[in-house]
């Protein structure tokens, strides 16, 4: 229920402790901390389930994270699986808005005939793990406010040297082989700017595609951070229709997140800006 959840802006006190304290790279006064390790062990899974209160995704990289921190001011934004999962609908009404697998109706109808005596849906929750997570802010992070500014794509299309790149999965679930739900973070640091993309990608076979992208853009010379949040969604059938008719291997396209992202219409998009506090000017760009 929405009432028990914080708004994305308020999600600033993490219930999660970062594991990596040495930066993977420091550039122009900004440090990037990346942790990339194995899925949680069973005791860690038990502890995390206790806190999150829903069954965790099958592949849960609970110790992975990416944190972007401004060294001088302590301004930071981080991305981790636990905070993202804390924002999943944990009490979904099964007759309400929850997605069902494509053959659910037929299955339930057929089941009714078999008189197996099983009636109960086990602990309903949003099993697609759809999350509106836009990152976890630190205690010194200034508030993001709506802006008309946009992330300057033309600057990102330049083949500037990439000083640092990382691609980190936070969680993944195969939905009992009914598709995929995945949250991952990519980051690239160039001499004068950085871009981070946290993407939630969902495919429920024969039902729906969903993407929720959070992009963080920092131009090192400016004392501000841009964050863009984009929701995209379409039916499985609509996307499948766009697969080139020359191929019979539609799976190759439908598994390609970048191809799917280009096909999906945007439902919602908002760009926000956070100003770094004065007196905390970033150090000069080398």
């Amino acid at each position: 229920m929405a009432a028990t959840q914080q708004s994305p802006d308020q999600a600033r006190l993490s219930i999660y402790a970062p594991t990596v304290t040495t930066p993977s790279i420091t550039r122009a006064g900004w440090s990037i901390y990346c942790a990339k390790t194995a899925i949680l062990k069973s005791d860690e899974i038990d502890q995390t389930t206790e806190r999150i209160k829903i069954p965790l995704p099958e592949m849960i990289f609970g110790n992975n994270h990416v944190i972007v921190r401004h060294d001088a001011s302590g301004w930071e934004i981080g991305f981790n699986a636990v905070d993202a999962l804390d924002r999943v609908d944990k009490h979904g009404n099964p007759d309400g808005g929850l997605v069902k697998v494509s053959y659910s109706e037929a299955w339930l109808k057929d089941k009714a005939k078999s008189e197996d005596g099983v009636h109960e849906v086990v602990k309903p929750f949003d099993w697609t793990y759809t999350t509106d997570y836009r990152g976890t802010c630190g205690p010194k992070t200034t508030v993001f406010e709506k802006t008309d500014d946009r992330i300057p794509l033309h600057k990102l299309r330049r083949p500037d040297p990439i000083l640092f790149f990382e691609d980190i999965v936070l969680f993944e679930d195969e939905l009992g082989d009914n598709g995929i739900s995945m949250l991952s973070v990519k980051i690239r640091v160039m001499p004068d700017r950085l871009l981070l993309l946290c993407r939630f990608f969902l495919r429920v076979d024969d039902v729906v595609f969903r993407i929720r992208d959070s992009r963080v853009f920092i131009e090192f010379g400016d004392n501000e951070v841009l964050r863009e949040y984009v929701v995209k969604q379409d039916t499985y059938a609509n996307v499948k229709r766009k697969v080139p008719f020359t191929t019979r291997d539609f799976g190759l396209f439908l598994r390609d997140q970048n191809w799917v992202a280009e096909q999906l219409p945007t439902i919602e998009a908002v760009t926000e800006k956070a100003k770094l506090l004065p007196g905390h000017a970033s150090s000069d760009v080398r």
Partner: protein, 317 residues
């Protein structure tokens, strides 16, 4: 034509030798191998009774290097008897090499190698999760995928070890109380969405439940402690062995040692960092999990692949 001797008979030993070197069989050889396998599998019951000692293997998912690592740990067939619990294809890079090798081993040592059907041994799933794409990429067409998926329809659904241990890919079904009910299922078809055949390859245990439940996804069952107890009692068995679910330590034992999950794909999807195991059932009925890590060959292969891909993915927007 390598692999075929005069008169079109298959030279299985040379096929197996090639496959151990990760060389593909020619399309015509795969066709012949699958045809032979169907002739063999059609004679197997839906419930095969075998004797220990036997080593039981969980999901492999095309992780060929790790299958070889498993043989290094558990012994190569036919020195060790093997029961594979399904999910040979999809997700990993070498589904064709994996299923080709396992099929040839089955044909060569039919009483020492047993292959159970997993939910990925189906047209619907393997078209979506990698096996189909791999066949198109490596053979240039989908014939090989057709040969293998036709053969999948003949794979057995369950195995019983020493009349004591019941083995399936997924789990129990509310429509199967007695093992005899499995024997009458018409299994020679694509895996349906519902019914006992679907449940046996799809369902999952739920350690927090007593009874059957319906999955929150809107189809499929979970089964709890009481169901397991009752099933073992009715069928006079002591243990249920299954695969189907990722375990970070390579295995999981539930319900007071009445059910085990065995998982045999280490570092699943080449990124999970999990361990894998193979379960040895001794002739006295003892169960020992031999845990193993990903094969070193994976890393070399990944470095080769990375060289070809990197710059593309780094310039994401």
């Amino acid at each position: 034509m390598p692999g075929l001797t005069n008169g079109g008979a298959i030279d299985l030993d040379s096929c197996i030798e090639r496959l151990y070197r990760r060389e593909l069989l020619a399309e015509t050889v795969v066709e012949a191998v699958c045809a032979k396998a169907k002739e063999l599998l059609i004679r197997e019951s839906n419930v095969i009774h075998i004797k220990a000692p036997v080593s039981v293997v969980g999901d492999i998912h095309g992780q060929f290097f790790d299958l070889i690592e498993l043989f290094r740990v558990g012994g190569f067939p036919p020195q060790t008897n093997y029961l594979f619990l399904g999910d040979y294809v999809d997700r990993g890079y070498f589904s064709i090499e994996t299923i080709s090798l396992l099929t040839c081993l089955k044909l060569r040592y039919p009483n020492r190698v047993f292959l159970v059907r997993g939910n990925h041994e189906s047209r619907g799933i393997s078209q979506n999760y990698g096996f189909y794409s791999e066949c198109k990429a490596k053979y240039g067409n989908s014939s090989v995928w057709n040969y293998f998926t036709d053969m999948f329809d003949y794979l057995t659904l369950s195995v019983v070890i020493d009349d004591r241990i019941f083995c399936i890919h997924g789990g129990l079904s509310p429509n199967v109380h007695s093992i005899d009910q499995i024997k009458v299922v018409d299994r020679f078809k694509e895996i349906p969405h519902e019914g006992p055949m679907a449940d046996l390859v799809w369902s999952d245990p739920d350690p927090d439940k007593e009874d059957f439940g319906i999955s929150t996804r809107g189809a499929g069952y979970t089964f709890g402690a009481e169901i397991v107890k009752k099933f073992l009692h009715v069928n006079n068995m002591v243990h249920i062995l299954r695969a189907h679910q990722l375990c970070d330590q390579g295995y999981q034992v539930l319900f007071d040692d009445r059910l085990s999950t065995v998982w045999s794909a280490p570092n699943y999807c080449y990124r999970c960092g999990n361990m894998a195991s193979v379960l040895e059932v001794s002739d006295t009925g003892e169960r020992t999990f031999n845990v193993f890590d990903a094969a070193p060959e994976n890393e070399e292969y990944r470095e080769q692949q990375a060289l070809q891909h990197n710059t593309m993915t780094e310039y994401f927007l």
